[in-house]
Symmetry: C2
Subunit: 301 residues, 2 copies
C-alpha cells in the first residue's frame, strides 16, 4: 500500500482533472478548503455516512458504486433544498488490504457523478480502518431566502413525489434488473429541485428512509397531517409495501399550494400527485382513508 501522502497526491491529481470552480479559492492540500461565497446567495450544507455492512457490502457493491452512492446521498439533500451543488468534502476510511485500486475505484465513481452535477472535491480526510466508511459533506447555494424547507407545508397543499417509489427496496430484495441498478446507482434529483424552486414550490424533502417515515417528518416539521389518496407511482416489480416503507429511493417529496401549477414532468422526471396536506394532528398520515404507521428505516429500532 502506498503512503497516505502519495494516496492523497493521486486523489488530488484526479480532482485536478475535474471542472474547476472559481469560487473555490483553495481545494485539497491545506488545512481547510476556502470558498468565496457569491453575494445574494445562501449556502446549504449536508453530511451523510455510507457504512460497510449497513449501506453496502463489498460483495455486492463495486468500489465505484460505493463512491457514487456516497455522493448521491448528499447531493439528494442539496436537491431537496432546491440548491445548486458547489463542492464536497470526502472522509474515507478503508482497510489496508483493499489497497489503492479500491480507493481509485471509489473516487472514479464519485467523480463521475460529481462531474454530472458540477461538484468539485474540495478536501477531506483519509484513514485506514478495518471497514470501509465514507462520510460526504456537500455544500450548495440557493438565492437568499429561497431554500426549500420541510417546515412550510400548509393545509390544502397538494402532495407530490417525483419518479417511482419502491424500486430500491425491490432491487435490494432481488439483486437484479433495473431496480437493482437503481439501488446501486441512485440519481439525485438536482435539476428537479432547482426547477421546483423556480415554480414557486417552498416545501420539499428527499425520500431516503421511506415515504411513510419521511412524510411523517415533513408533517411534524410543518405541524400538519397528510391524506394520501391511495394512488402511488409504484415502481415496476415493487410492492405497495416497498413504495410506502422502502428506503433509498432518493426521489423528491414536495407540497404545493393550489395556486402553483405543477407539470406532469419536471426536468424529464415524471411527477405524481399523491395526496393533500391536512390540518389534523401533526404527523398523522392516512392512506386511502386509513391511518398508517410510519415504517421506513430507523437506525436505532
Amino acid at each position: 500500500m502506498p503512503s497516505e501522502t502519495s494516496l492523497i497526491r493521486q486523489i488530488r491529481a484526479l480532482a485536478a482533472a475535474q471542472p474547476s470552480n472559481k469560487r473555490l479559492i483553495k481545494g485539497i492540500g491545506d488545512d481547510c478548503a476556502i470558498l468565496r461565497p457569491r453575494p445574494g446567495h445562501d449556502l446549504v450544507f449536508t453530511t451523510d455516512f455510507v457504512l460497510e455492512g449497513r449501506h453496502f457490502t463489498l460483495d455486492t457493491h463495486k468500489p465505484a458504486d460505493v463512491g457514487h452512492k456516497a455522493l448521491a446521498r448528499s447531493l439528494s439533500d442539496l436537491a431537496a433544498m432546491g440548491s445548486r451543488p458547489l463542492f464536497c468534502l470526502v472522509s474515507l476510511a478503508v482497510p489496508q488490504h483493499l489497497g489503492q485500486r479500491w480507493i481509485s475505484g471509489f473516487y472514479r465513481g464519485l467523480f463521475a457523478l460529481a462531474a454530472e452535477h458540477g461538484t468539485s472535491l474540495a478536501g477531506g480526510d483519509l484513514a485506514s480502518f478495518d471497514r470501509v466508511i465514507a462520510d460526504v459533506v456537500c455544500c450548495g447555494e440557493v438565492p437568499t431566502g429561497k431554500a426549500l424547507l420541510r417546515s412550510s407545508a400548509k393545509p390544502g397543499d397538494s402532495i407530490y413525489v417525483t419518479g417511482t417509489l419502491g424500486a430500491s427496496a425491490a432491487g435490494f430484495r432481488t439483486q437484479r434488473g433495473a431496480n437493482w441498478k437503481r439501488h446501486l446507482r441512485p440519481e439525485p434529483r438536482v435539476a428537479v429541485g432547482l426547477a421546483l424552486a423556480k415554480l414557486g414550490v417552498t416545501c420539499c424533502m428527499d425520500l431516503s428512509d421511506g415515504l411513510s417515515l419521511d412524510l411523517r417528518r415533513l408533517c411534524l416539521e410543518s405541524g400538519v397531517s397528510a391524506e394520501l389518496s391511495g394512488t402511488l407511482p409504484i415502481a415496476r416489480a415493487a410492492t405497495l409495501d416497498d413504495s410506502l416503507h422502502g428506503g433509498e429511493d432518493y426521489e423528491l417529496l414536495f407540497t404545493a399550494s393550489p395556486q402553483v401549477r405543477v407539470p406532469e414532468e419536471i426536468a424529464s422526471v415524471p411527477v405524481t400527485r399523491i395526496g393533500t396536506i391536512g390540518g389534523g394532528k401533526p404527523g398523522l398520515i392516512n392512506f386511502a382513508g386509513r391511518r398508517i404507521r410510519s415504517g421506513g428505516f430507523d437506525h436505532f429500532k
Copy 2:
C-alpha cells in the same frame, strides 16, 4: 435504545441551549443546514475522522473526551487558517449497546468545547454501527483573501511553534498526569490563529501528525526547505523523539518574514522560534545541521 427520531430530538434540544448564530438561518431539522455568509469574508471548511481503536478506545476515553477530541481536531484546522469558527456538522455512528447515555456524553463534551469557541451545531448524521465513528466538519470565516496557507513560506522566514511539543505522545505512553490530560483534551489554538493573521503572518498549519512530517508537508506546499536550530520547546517528561515525531499536539506551526515582530506569547500561549526556511530541495529538513527523516503518523504505513 430510543428511536433515531427521539435521539435526534434530544440532540436538537441540547443544541438549542447553545449560543445562537444569526447567520445560521436553519440548523438541525431539515435536509441541509443554511448559512447566510457575511460579505467581505471567505469561508473555510475542514473535516476530520475520529475512529474507535485508532484515535481512541472505549476503555481509556470517556464519551465526553471523544466528543471533545472530535471537535478539537477540526477546530485546530480552522485555527491554522486564522479563521473564526462558525458552525459544525457531526456525523456519529455508535453501537446500539452503548445507548443514549454514551451519545449524550459525547455531545456534552462536544458542546462544552463548541461553546468556548462560539461554534454552533448545524446538523449531521446519526447511525448505528458496531464501532464508534465520528466525522466532524467545521466551517469558519476569515476576511477575504486573509486565510493563512501552508504554501506561502519563503526562504529567510523564521519558523515558530506554539506551546510545547511531544506532550500528547508522552501522555499516550504513560496514560497519566498533565500530558495524558493534554492527549485526552487537546486545546485548539483558535485565538492564536486569529492573532497571527492580524500580526501579518501568512503561512501556518496545525501539528496533528508530528513536527517532522507536518513541517515537510508545509515545505512541499511552499517549495522550500527548513533548517531547525536544534532547540525545541519539548514538553515536560516528553522525549526529543516525542517532540519531533509525536502526533496530536494540535499546536500551530507558522513562519514569518524578518519584518514581522513575533511576540514571545500570543493569546497567553508561549511561542518559540525553532528555525529558518531555506531555499534547498523542497521538503528537505535539517535538525541541528543533520538531515532528518519524516517520522510522524502515516495512516497507510
